[in-house]
Assembly symmetry: C2
Homo-oligomer: 525 residues x 2
Amino acid sequence: MSLVSGQHFVAGSGEFGRGELFTAIDASSGAALAPDYREASDEQIDRACAAAATATTAFAGSPARARANLLRAIGDGLVALGDTLVARVTSETALPAARVLAERGRTVLQLQQFADLLEEGSWVDAAIDHGDRARQPQAKPDVRRMLLPLGPVAVFGASNFPLAYSVAGGDTASALAAGCPVVVKAHPAHPGSSELVGAVITAAVARLQLPAGTFSLLHGRTHATGAKLVAHAAIAAVGFTGSHQGGRALLDVAAQRAQPIPVFAEMGSVNPVVVLPQALRTRGPAIAEQLVASALLAQGQFCTSPGLVAWIDGPGAHEFAAMLGQQLGAANSGPTVHTSIRAGFERALAEVGTLPGVIAATGQKTSTAATAVCPTLLTATAAMVLRHARLRSEIYGPAVLAVACRDADELHAVVQSMHGHLTATVHGSDDDFVRHERITAGLRQRVGRLIANGVPTGVEVCRSMVHGGPYPAATDARFSAVGTTSIQRWVRPAAWQDWPHELLPLELRDDNPLGIRRYVDGKFR
Amino acid sequence: MSLVSGQHFVAGSGEFGRGELFTAIDASSGAALAPDYREASDEQIDRACAAAATATTAFAGSPARARANLLRAIGDGLVALGDTLVARVTSETALPAARVLAERGRTVLQLQQFADLLEEGSWVDAAIDHGDRARQPQAKPDVRRMLLPLGPVAVFGASNFPLAYSVAGGDTASALAAGCPVVVKAHPAHPGSSELVGAVITAAVARLQLPAGTFSLLHGRTHATGAKLVAHAAIAAVGFTGSHQGGRALLDVAAQRAQPIPVFAEMGSVNPVVVLPQALRTRGPAIAEQLVASALLAQGQFCTSPGLVAWIDGPGAHEFAAMLGQQLGAANSGPTVHTSIRAGFERALAEVGTLPGVIAATGQKTSTAATAVCPTLLTATAAMVLRHARLRSEIYGPAVLAVACRDADELHAVVQSMHGHLTATVHGSDDDFVRHERITAGLRQRVGRLIANGVPTGVEVCRSMVHGGPYPAATDARFSAVGTTSIQRWVRPAAWQDWPHELLPLELRDDNPLGIRRYVDGKFR
């Protein structure tokens, strides 16, 4: 019996879908992959959401240790799947096995970090203000506060990270850590990988005797499944990683509900790169090489892939542009996760290609994969970029738009014309950074993460990381999708006033039985 | 020359509006109060927002000390206005002078608390993960993170707190503290009070040589002014306190923008009160007295006014209900802030009155004020409350709905039928709390603040306070509108990776020149 059989998981039970038929596609050959999947029916969506609602109180009230155990058990389960998982992900996404293994490692690390966070316990941000009955003119009440889970979270798997941003990825890990039941909508590009991971989570929930509604996994090929999930009254928040179009559509559904809910969608980003004059002169070609390597990682399917590079014309500019052209021209085409990504890439290039003055040069069309895309260097003047918003928005795939600016004012104008992005990268000498402070200040306003003399790809998973940014990089710049602070998306503060002491959560009792860091009467203790 | 002349303040300059004419109304007599006001024109709205946008970078980059000075100067200015302000507020709102003085004290306290927060400095939540070039397989970057202001915030003054939730109230104080320019839309019920406070802020901004666009004050009588403000591309976030209808309208405008922005609206709340059996038996009449006093404070115009009380029929129930009726029946009518509040209260009572089986009993119609409302006790069965959602939503004003439940199951069902509220209050003995844990758990899920054996009115301004809650108590339960944590509504995390050390914000430098608490390499230091 194959481990992949076309199943959804609704509150602990594996079952087949009852909607439209679809299959995964081998991302290299384009052939259909067994088994068949059917989209979730309305009844299945409703049942998964209702079970999540039923599980809410018990799961929210489960000891932090129990949730930490769940996260570690999921991580162990992913590793235990071994080659089965790696092979299925590789078939469904054309990502090489080494990359899949690295991504699995990151996924397990994320789960562990949230388990550590729960076991340490201070993340609930406990605060205590003791009362004072003798205060004049009014007695001071005893007020205590900590973070509580929002309730069921709908998580949308991403196409480009079939593990780290999918069924057991960062959104699921942070939501489960917070004490929120999760209903995952699997990405249709990798239903088999999703099913394997969903089975691991379902088994872990059962083994640890957590409420069955803690986790469900639904499949859907069309947007309808996701829209119904977000519209469901039981859902309290949404996590999404994907296209601007997809994220905005879910945001709009959530906003139109009788009871609007928060949506954290991490969407498209151009991740602009700026090369300042001294860096251009002293190490232009090396920067170009580094930039192209970053832009071609996984065929440009990283959220933080650099899609635009701008510089000021001057010494080194010619060599820089030449090296960009040479590197991209010599690069090979390769497979993406899905034919829809290839189609989207080619459509975007066609849109941009109709703009007068935009020059496109492609790399080597070596790949015969059905999903293959070809690295492309686009060149446009700064005036063109200022005129056409399309040139300032994402082309998802291995394309870089090169923009030579006449002077610092024009480069500044290009920066000022930009909307929000996840990252911006600046190459410069110390002197460059000082001289062009208004350029970096303009970028600072527009991005979640500023990088000096590096590449935007490769997101370090740590407390200081910010993966998010002003719209449309994300729908809510106040949160990060990566790092342990991402748990803050799924919680709300709650206060207890003059509450019976022995009925307070352990986190708020005077003797601090969990030994967590708290803010008590004006001081961290 | 009167201090009140009908002015708006647009980025430092006093000017008259150019839209529709309106005046304040003396809330006691109903007479028009001089001077005339004109609504802000589109051009004035645009100019205020553009100036705020222009001020954004400089104000965000201003030293924390400069913003603390601004907040203290505003507080000093409010006090220096003395009787002028108190008299104008009293005329415009019919709130007694003692209450206005107390509210001014709270407003000044809020400004001081944010000044203290800025001077202490740790609120920026700085985190540093040092790099490690030798790490395998990849070098670890140096990543540092802190909170940055979102940009211009639109603040809507509330009718019921002409000082503490208006021009220099909690929303403005927290936004200015965060480094966000503020454009206030004054509440049309108290334009003169708003003008006086707006002049104080404008003068303080000028004297401290902060950017002129840091603060603007616009008047508007109709919803159009506010909607245009929220739709303006320069506005990055919205703070609102008021009705559900008003808050939801602004949320919808914000959601439909090309670039959606966060809205924190604190809206209607019933603030349910539950009296458990032993408390009912041993001190029912005292609870009834306390409850009625809370419900009648400022004619029920507190956000946290208790609007529904439910109990289980049994010993003490009769005496409790009798005392409720006696207290409310003996209570006098009194003026509200505006005739529109009287009209809304009477409309709501009429709506509820059409429901079969709802019994209404009113107090003494002693007040002749144009804005006067009469305390009202409504009585309905639990079955009625379960059937009609209108009985579970706010009636703004001095009305209490009394609901006797057959048994604990019916009381539980009533709790489970409720939407989100700011607070819930439970009266009970220790034994009551243990026996009826599912009732309190149900309330916990639905409110921001749980209160034992007290009243919901009177919001302690402290770190542990939560003033907010699940929708529709607020549009985003993840934040509080009161207490220093309310600054989190207006900021976003931002990361710097491998950034030149001497160009990092002071908060993120290795030597920690500001001496703030930071999370460095896995530990708070």
